[in-house]
Each structure stands twice: as C-alpha cells, then as structure tokens.
C-alpha cells in the first residue's frame, strides 16, 4: 500500500513506475525539452536543468509552440522521454505524440490526467506507480 492513492483519468492507457518530477507551471517541449538528453532547457522555467528522462513527469499542460508533439515523439523514439506524463486535463499535444508513437513504434506513452487539487499533492522525488486504469500510487 502506498501512502497516497489518487484516481486519474486515463488519456492513454499504460503502466509506469518511477521518480516524480513535478512542474507547477506549463512547459513547451519545443525550446523546453532536449530530446537528445531529456533535460528541461527552457531557461525561464522553474525546472530548467532537471532531467525528465524515465521519470514520471507531472506538468499541468503545454504552452506555446505547436512543435511540442514532434519533440516528444523524437524523445520516445530516442528513449529519452519521461516514463509517463501526468497533466491536469487532456493535453492534445502530449496525447498525439503518444498515439503516433503507438502507430509508428508500438510504444505509446502512458498519459493520465488528475484534477488540479490532486495534482498539487504530487511532489518531486515521490516514487510513483501508475496503473493501467489510471490509479496513481505514491509509494514513498
């Protein structure tokens, strides 16, 4: 049993586990995510310099550029993407990258949406498990 269980809405089904990286502000992946390394490179962003690769990346939604999808798709192919994404609503840009990764590489990225008041309970460093039905368990 974890110390906290939250029920998210499945946007793209999948199971994932990892250490959380939590952003309180949105991010454009174009100019914000280096798909060669998984580093957050928006120098005006609160997480500038953090590595999101293989982590459970919680980011409320995407801002700015419509190239965010293409950058996330490159990251999935290059295996520098987060292990899963948690947002506060359906994020079309993230969902599309996952759908196309499924189409091209049979590698959809799990995507779960949490209500805003529950999203704020996640903290960077939490060990998180996401189940296929959208249950998010904070293990430690």
């Amino acid at each position: 049993m974890g110390r906290l269980t939250l029920q998210g809405k499945v946007i793209i089904r999948g199971e994932a586990q990892g250490e959380a990286l939590v952003s309180r502000e949105p991010l454009s992946f174009w100019g914000g995510y280096d798909w060669m390394t998984g580093e957050i490179i928006d120098r005006r962003h609160m997480l500038s310099g953090a590595i999101a690769r293989d982590r459970i990346f919680a980011v409320p939604f995407t801002r700015g550029s419509s190239t965010t999808t293409a950058v996330l798709l490159e990251a999935i192919r290059a295996k520098t993407a987060p292990a899963a994404l948690i947002t506060t609503d359906v994020d079309f840009f993230f969902a599309l990258a996952s759908v196309i990764a499924d189409e091209l590489y049979d590698a959809p990225l799990p995507l779960v949406a949490l209500a805003e008041n529950e999203f704020t309970r996640l903290k960077t460093g939490d060990k998180i498990h996401i189940s296929a039905n959208g249950t998010i368990t904070v293990i430690i």
């Binding site: 793209i12 949105p26 005006r44 550029s65 419509s66 293409a70 490159e74 192919r77 079309f92 599309l96």
Partner: protein, 421 residues
C-alpha cells in the same frame, strides 16, 4: 456522448480511400475520442507545421505517409522547413542534417501541398476568411487566424495538421465551436499612454505579458487607444503564443468577434479582470532580454516572417547606413514576400547596409547559426522567448530602430526615454 462518424469517415477509416488516408483517419479518430469530440467537421484549408525537421521520428512519420501515397484533400500551405532550400550552404547547417531536412520537405511537398514555406501563411493569398473552418499548425499562425481573421482552428500540433489535411476533416472541438470562443480573462489597460500604444515594440511586450498571464485561457484586451496594424497584431499574437498557449484573443473594437465587450465574452462573466499597468509592461519588456552584456554578434528580424510592409518600414531606417563589420544583420521571410520586396525596391538599401536574407526557414528551425555567434538582438518576442533554450544564445530585445542603431554601433543600444518611469 461518444464520437459519431459519417459513412464517408467510416470508408476512410476502413481504407477504402487508400492506406495513407486510413492512417490519417485512424489518428484523427483516436484523437477525437481522447478530446471528447462528438463528431468531425469539414475543413476548407490546412497549414502544416510538421514540415519543421526535428529528428528521425518526424521524418519517418512524413515518409510513411508519403510512401503510402498521401494526398491532401483541401488547399494546404506549408510552414517553415529546416532549410533555406537554395542558400543553406552559406550557413553552419551540417550537410547530413540538411539531407534529412530536405527529405522531410520533399515528403510534404509530394502530398499535393502549396510550398509556401512560411510561418505567416495569413499574409499570403491563401489567407482564410472569416468564419471558415480550418486546421492549422504553428502557434503564431493559429492565433492570428482565429483572432485577427476570425477563421476557426483549434490549437493543432505538428503531425495532426497533416492528418486533417489528408482527410479534409477535424474533430468538432475547442475553437471550432462558437461557444468555446468567448473571452475568459479581461485585461484592462490602465493609463497606458497613446504614444506607447503607437510604438511597434508595445505589441510584442504586451503579447509576452498577456501570454504569461493567460496561459491557455482566452484573453480580452480592453482599453486600446489606437487601432493596431496587421503586423502589430501579428507581433502581439506571436508573443502571446510563446509565453503562453494563447490560440485566440479578442481586442475590443479591433478584432472581428469583439466589436463590443459583450460580444467578446458572449454575455458571460470573465473569470478574472486584470489591470495592465506601465510597470507590468516595463517588467515584460525587461524579461524579453536574456543577456547581461551589451555585446552583439547578430541582429535577427522576421519571427514571424517579415512582411512586405515590414520591409517597407525597415528600408528607410537603414538607408545610407552601414552595419558594423563585427555584427551580422539577418532578416527571415518567405520567398514570395522577398520577391515582392525586391520588386518594390526595398531590398537594395538592405543589401547596401550589409543585411542578409534567409527564406523558407528561420534561426529557430534551422541549425544555421555558427557557434561563435553568441549574442543576438531582435524586435521579436518569439525570437526573444525561444533563443536562450533552443539555441543556447543570449538575446536582447529592442525596437526595430534600436536593432538598426545597435547593428551600426556594434553593441546593444536602446532608446529608453519612451519606456522610462
């Protein structure tokens, strides 16, 4: 409610219209389901941002579609690519990268699209009309089409725009629907002097501020004392779509769905009213500069792509002057626009000044700048916003006049009087 498809949609999904249409429709349907659409709607045009070369995955997607015989079903313009097709060798673009970027250009061009290669398709003859349903990618183009023209597109990402173009369909969601176009945040300009509102650099500064405060909400700007021109609205939108996810704004008395405040908010109440003061604008202007020095290696103009009117404005500013030998001066635009500027005689003073022109692409989408160029200056909020992260370069923001004067001096200089306390 679940997604209901027409018999023609089902034909496309089954593969009756060929394998590329099947692939595009299957992505479209999955995304329509994810976003809770009840149906798809017909579009009359598309603008493809997927042309920007990012890496292998995007190229594999484009070539998969092209090899399956993809053809667009509606008139479709192309955004910038990763290359100035005929002049990339003059810059630092690695030839291996150029080869891949060129393959991606060819893949999209072979789908029956119109090779406009510009991020300002709303300044071409393919510009949509008020009320038309379209599927556009490219954040600055989306916000312009929705706000300034009153055409209707959701904020579509790369790779989805082409699926809409191939099928001629889009999910009936978001900004396609009247009820979702009501303004949500009311920004009231408070004591912003008319002479500030007349300045070109007011618009990117205001856009950067409104984008940051609006995020994904629809802002309404109330209290404008002047009627901004097309290029000023373009600079505003590009700024708001960089610092935020703004896909539609209303300016009372100026944009077509906002003749009155009542119309802009569709009789609803705004979530919040925010006063915009000179202090907030000064902060926003300061934030657009991301450098601690007045060193200058290059002035970059043209994000979004320079228009004919902008060339016309720039030409007399550089007339009879010469840029400093240590500073480069680059304008990015479309092929069509530079040809018009050439015919109008606006390019001669630029050439004499020592300016260079790049078409089809820009500094953000092509790895064209050599490493030794580290300090940039621009009048564009979009260049200012993205250059530090994407290019790892320092950038200073100023007016067009500041940019020209700095290029002559060889270091960043700005006329501060108008913005001073």
């Amino acid at each position: 409610m679940s997604l209901s498809l027409t018999s023609r949609d089902h034909e496309m999904l089954r593969g009756d219209h060929g394998p590329a249409t099947k692939m595009a429709m299957s992505i479209l349907v999955r995304m329509a389901e994810v976003s809770g659409a009840n149906e798809l709607l017909d579009i009359v045009g598309a603008h493809i941002d997927s042309t920007v070369y990012i890496g292998e995955a995007g190229l594999e997607f484009a070539e998969r579609l092209a090899n399956l015989g993809a053809k667009v079903a509606v008139p479709t313009t192309l955004n910038v690519s990763g290359l100035d097709e005929y002049h990339w060798q003059e810059w630092a673009v690695p030839s291996e990268w150029a080869k891949q970027a060129y393959r991606q250009m060819a893949a999209y061009q072979n789908m029956g699209t119109i090779p406009t290669w510009t991020c300002a398709p709303y300044q071409t003859e393919m510009k949509p009309k008020f009320g038309q349903q379209i599927a556009w990618g490219e954040s600055n183009a989306i916000v312009f089409a929705n706000s300034v023209i009153g055409a209707r597109t959701e904020r579509y990402p790369d790779l989805f725009d082409i699926c809409c173009a191939i099928t001629g369909r889009a999910p009936a969601i978001g900004l396609h629907l009247t009820e979702n176009r009501a303004g949500q945040l009311l920004f009231q300009l408070v004591d912003i002097p008319t002479q500030i509102q007349q300045r070109d650099d007011f618009y990117p500064v205001l856009g950067n501020l409104i984008g940051k405060l609006s995020l994904d909400k629809i802002p309404v700007i109330h209290g404008m004392a002047v009627k901004p021109g097309e290029d000023q609205l373009k600079a505003f939108g590009a700024g708001a779509a960089s610092s935020g996810g703004v896909a539609l704004f209303h300016m009372i008395g100026i944009t077509p769905e906002a003749q009155t405040l009542e119309e802009a908010i569709q009789g609803k109440s705004p979530i919040q009213t925010i006063e915009v003061t000179m202090d907030m604008l000064r902060d926003s202007r300061r934030e657009l500069t991301h450098t601690g020095t007045d060193e200058l290696h290059m002035v970059v103009l043209g994000s979004p792509h320079f228009s004919l009117a902008e060339f016309k404005h720039l030409a007399p500013l550089v007339q009879g002057k010469r840029k400093h030998p240590n500073v480069k001066f680059l304008v990015t635009s479309s092929r069509a626009m530079t040809q018009l500027a050439q015919r109008a005689g606006y390019l001669e003073p630029l050439a004499a000044f020592g300016a260079q022109l790049t078409v089809d692409t820009c500094i953000l989408t092509s790895p064209m700048l050599p490493e030794e160029i580290r300090y940039l200056m621009t009048n564009s909020a979009k260049f200012a916003y993205y250059s530090p992260g994407l290019l790892q370069k320092q950038i200073a923001f100023g007016s067009l006049e500041d940019c020209v004067n700095s290029a002559v001096e060889g270091r960043v200089i700005r006329e501060e009087t108008a913005w001073a306390d």
